[in-house]
């Protein structure tokens, strides 16, 4: 592994994103718009907005980065740049770590802006530290990126990659406990939710936003999220083939 190649890859991915200001605007504006929608949809029940809004600030980066990464990586595969990189003195880890650093940086900016607007302008109120919410948002973004890199291996076209979002992400969003407490779900679904990484991402956020602190269970959640991201990155590395049919 080489710091030079990793750094070069991270800088290149960020430079590509900067060439596409509309995507950057969407990455920032869409979560803000949805959180504002939540605020006014639950106009009559501000406590519901606080309960859902806080975790949502931390979950959005996961969703955005999943989508952005799976499309970016798919483009690398389709345009032949991935094949070129695979013939060069670049380790797969350099490539994946470069992606990870670039998208974590984007997620930090996204998380900070979305959290800033939600807490300061929209009056979102959480029990714990706002900074902890942003930190968890960045961690979740890395998980989203890792899942996106893995998902991109199974898509042949951008149409397919976009469909992976409802296929991979929406069920996790429904089962993670954000909308309905997991204990109230059908037992089979509750059991399934234990196997989904977003459940742990949400649980950690809920502990910070409702209980006011992570606690030991929250730390276990964070460890599970990190492990899920690493597992996903390892599987993604296995899908990067130097030889193809």
């Amino acid at each position: 592994m080489s710091a030079r190649a990793t750094g070069a890859t991270a800088a290149r991915v960020i430079r590509q994103l900067r060439r596409d200001p509309r995507t950057i605007a969407l990455v920032i504006v869409v979560p803000l718009m949805l959180i504002a929608l939540f605020k006014w949809v639950f106009d009559g029940q501000p406590q519901t907005f606080d309960r859902i809004g806080g975790p949502l600030v931390g979950i959005f980066p996961l969703i955005t980065m999943f989508l952005v990464t799976s499309i970016t990586m798919l483009r690398e595969r389709v345009t032949g740049t991935l094949e070129r990189l695979m013939t060069m003195p670049l380790s797969k880890l350099d490539l994946l770590a470069g992606y990870g650093i670039a998208f974590a940086a984007v997620a930090a900016v996204q998380g900070a802006i979305v959290a800033g607007v939600s807490f300061l302008l929209l009056g979102l109120d959480v029990a714990g530290s706002e900074l902890a919410v942003v930190a968890l948002a960045v961690l979740n973004a890395v998980l989203g990126m890792a899942l996106g890199l893995l998902a991109s291996a199974f898509a042949r076209t951008e149409f397919q990659a976009v469909q992976f979002m409802p296929a991979f992400i929406f069920p996790q969003l429904l089962l993670c406990g954000l909308f309905v407490p997991r204990a109230q779900m059908a037992p089979a679904l509750e059991a399934l939710s234990w196997a989904l990484p977003m459940t742990y991402a949400y649980d950690a956020l809920e502990r910070v936003t409702v209980n006011g602190e992570l606690g030991s269970r929250g730390i276990v959640d964070v460890i599970v999220v990190i492990a899920a991201a690493l597992l996903s990155l390892t599987l993604a590395a296995l899908t990067l083939r130097r030889r193809t049919p």
């Binding site: 190649a5 890859t9 430079r15 590509q16 596409d20 345009t79 740049t81 013939t87 130097r242 030889r243």
Partner: protein
């Protein structure tokens, strides 16, 4: 060829392929071919489209899954990690980032292969893209894009350059200029394997490899091809060769 000549040829070969068999999409593209490609010269890999040129180049670059056979490149099995900084491979479709400028693309790949920044300006000049350095690749013409892709492979001065149809879509002036660059690189000791489906490009090569339906139809110098077929025009020579092969069964 006598024993000594064979040994000399083998020792100066940059690429040695033995019994290479490749199946792609359920179809046998290379049915088991063997060949030698000499070091420090331009070898033209010619043949109609679908004859297996790209597959052979991919196997030599080490990116192709092969059924059987042995491919040795610069003395090591194709695709070994040590070869990644010694072999440059340019695919037929330009493989560079369309949303970055020419300079940014080369800057990125340059850092991957670890070359000094001055080298970037050098390769941009070599492919004649000096005026387009700050232009986003997506806005370049097809020919400019493939030259930018070629420049990337030149960055770390590879000992072996594998170029798949590098002159497609270029005007005659640029094509001549590129063949001039290839000759200069070969004179400086680089081995080049250049594929093309345009027979008149064969005259620029030191030696020729004619591929037809995955088999070698001819292996030798352009001069030998002319002599053997009694045709000065290389395109006509190739056609005559195929006619003979078909007549001979």
């Amino acid at each position: 060829m006598d024993q000594t000549a064979q040994q000399v040829e083998a020792s100066s070969a940059a690429i040695e392929v033995d019994g290479l068999e490749v199946v792609r999409g359920g179809k046998t593209v290379l049915p088991g071919i063997s060949l030698r490609i000499g070091a420090g010269r331009v070898t033209g890999l010619l043949g109609p489209s679908g004859s297996g040129k790209t597959t052979l180049i991919r196997a030599i670059a080490g990116v192709q899954i092969v059924e059987a056979g042995r491919v040795a490149v610069l003395g090591a099995p194709a695709g070994t990690p040590a070869l990644r900084s010694r072999v440059g491979y340019v695919t037929q479709a330009p493989s560079i980032y369309g949303d970055l400028t020419v300079g940014e693309n080369l800057g990125y790949f340059g850092r991957i292969v670890g070359v000094e920044t001055e080298r970037i300006a050098e390769v941009i000049e070599m492919v004649g893209l000096g005026a387009e350095e700050h232009q986003v690749v997506g806005t370049l013409s097809g020919g400019q894009r493939s030259r930018a892709s070629l420049a990337t492979a030149l960055l770390n001065r590879p000992e072996l350059l594998l170029l798949d149809e590098p002159t497609v879509g270029l005007d005659p002036v640029l094509r001549a200029a590129l063949w001039g660059t290839f000759a200069e690189l070969a004179a400086a000791g680089t081995t080049l394997l250049v594929s093309s489906h345009v027979m008149d490009e064969a005259s620029h090569c030191d030696s020729l490899l004619l591929l037809r339906e995955g088999r070698i139809a001819f292996d030798g110098s352009p001069q030998l091809l002319r002599e053997r077929t009694g045709s000065e025009d290389l395109e006509a020579a190739f056609l005559r060769l195929i006619e003979r092969a078909e007549a001979g069964g």
